[in-house]
Symmetry: C2
Subunit: 332 residues, 2 copies
């Protein structure tokens, strides 16, 4: 048996393509003390990995050429050298784009397939859901009746963030990249309104009419012109959890836009960039809440599942063209 | 005796000039129950008043044409119709650009001339000092050894903010608009470094060499290109108290600049616009601390004092050309 891995082959300039990745064949290793050998079942592809492809100081060190790409996934334990897990257990945690990774016990958490389908534990009930949860709850601090706008609303984090805001009693407006996605947000997920920014004549005007009482929380996944529009419509004491800036990730140079800090000032608003790892000590709280809402049917977990290990790079690239609705997952 | 007042005569487009103001002569009124008649001694002119000249929704309603301009000041009680103050008391609080205003007791606070010169109670020991105090302490949350950058550092709020950050054990770098100001910040106020942005060849490079360990707190009074530079140099978990955006106040249209929220995100930084009135319930705490530091000689209160009621508009306009070092005050 062989162990396929995907390594980082070339730094992209602009949009990444398949030449940035290379599948290499390796042998399957034995787990050392405290480690397990896993068989990967599902791999999560996430926009933040694009950030790691840039050589710069950041909260996670940049990827080096030749390095296996790290991600999160769901796997089955094939061989265990730790008391925490036994053969046949299902686990989630940080694992590489790799078929048979060796992972330290500290990186893994056992999952219960009775709660939700296996792959949902890397989506709405995993890091993605936690990102939405802490962004909305901790930074957004929503109050019933407030207006919450979510950009990238049909993306993995956006769909959960919007549903949590609905549970909190807010008016929720999503911004997404197709009519189909916008319709899904309203009809299937209960958003109060959704805007297709690609066909909007004037995104600010459409956002303004969807938010007659202004914006109290702007949960930002995208940046750029959508964020410019939202920042001009915020209310006093608005909160802006900054979760992603996907519209900028493939720009070789920073783009210009209107300077809007003056409005942030006169609105006494707060913009807060956050990284989910800052909330590590509260993950259990978040997972419990998400699982409870999921079981109650109050949170749905839309997923776009692609099959085949070799399709991981394409699934990743598709994140930047909006090919996914909800969480993008690759089934191995 | 007559009572001169300055009314708002014309909305400025761009930089305000004298035609935006008009001195009118009125009679002196009698105080009703709960009111006092004051003789104004010192008037504070502040950049935020420029914001009130624009017809828009904001935290303070916009000035209306013909309205007497409200400001803060120091005055002597001429006639009292309240038990809180008696004739001859020195008070500070909200009062108009007016020689003999009638003010409600709730708007006033008695001041002790033994603590500091009268006018300092509208500067380092008044709203200005409080703005610096809460911006640095509450939003900045400084830790010893951290690097604090202050823009508009030689302005009324900047000089106090920088000195508080020094008291907190930080490395403090000021950005100001002349060599004389920069020298003053370092030699007289103990800043670790100061940059004259007007002669800087590359503000980002100069800021970078003045902040070898990056920026932990960026206290922003100015916005624009200086803020762009600072935002590219922030450290993880940086805090950005947004106190003013004076470089934008006289722009008829919002200007463009690089979109920098991506860096705010990967640094997990917080930008927080704040208004001093949000801290009203904690003013006593702030005034006590500022007065203590002032008495101990740890905070100096540089002031630029212009004489003559008729010079209030010029003193105000001078704020935007940097004519003041420290607090701009008009002695009546």
């Amino acid at each position: 048996m062989k162990n396929n891995k995907i390594i980082f082959a070339k730094r992209p300039v602009g949009m990444p393509d398949n030449s940035c990745f290379e599948i290499i064949e390796d042998k399957i290793e034995k787990p050392n003390d405290g480690e397990v050998l896993l068989k990967t079942l599902y791999i999560s592809v996430d926009p933040y990995i694009r950030g790691r492809m840039v050589e710069r100081k950041s909260y996670i060190p940049p990827l080096q050429i030749g390095e296996v790409i790290a991600s999160s996934g769901v796997a089955e334990v094939v061989e265990s050298n730790t008391k925490l897990f036994k053969k046949g257990d299902y686990v989630t945690g940080r694992m590489n784009w790799e078929e048979y990774p060796i992972v330290n016990e500290k990186e893994l958490r056992q999952i219960d397939p009775a709660i939700a389908p296996l792959q949902t534990h890397i989506g709405a009930l995993g890091m993605t859901g936690l990102t939405a949860y802490f962004g909305i709850m901790d930074i957004g601090n929503p109050k019933p009746g407030e207006t919450v706008v979510i950009s990238g609303a049909a993306g993995a984090v956006g769909v959960v963030a919007g549903q949590i805001a609905k549970i909190m009693g807010c008016r929720v407006v999503g911004i997404a990249g197709s009519d189909e996605k916008a319709e899904y947000l309203v009809k299937e997920l209960g958003f109060d309104a959704a805007i297709n920014y690609k066909t909007a004549k004037d995104i600010r005007e459409e956002l303004k009419s969807a938010c007659p009482d202004g914006i109290d929380i702007y949960f930002d996944n995208v940046g750029g012109a959508i964020t410019d529009a939202a920042l001009t419509l915020i209310n006093d004491n608005a909160r802006i959890p900054l979760c992603g800036q996907i519209s900028h990730y493939n720009e070789p140079e920073p783009q210009s836009g209107p300077r809007l800090l003056g409005n942030v000032l006169i609105r006494a608003a707060t913009i807060k960039g956050f990284l989910i790892l800052q909330y590590a000590s509260r993950f259990n709280e978040g997972i419990e809440k998400l699982a409870k809402w999921y079981k109650e049917g109050r949170i749905k977990a839309p997923e776009t599942i692609v099959e085949g290990f070799e399709n991981i790079p394409n699934a990743f690239i598709g994140l930047f063209t909006g090919s996914n609705l909800g969480k993008q997952i690759v089934k191995i």
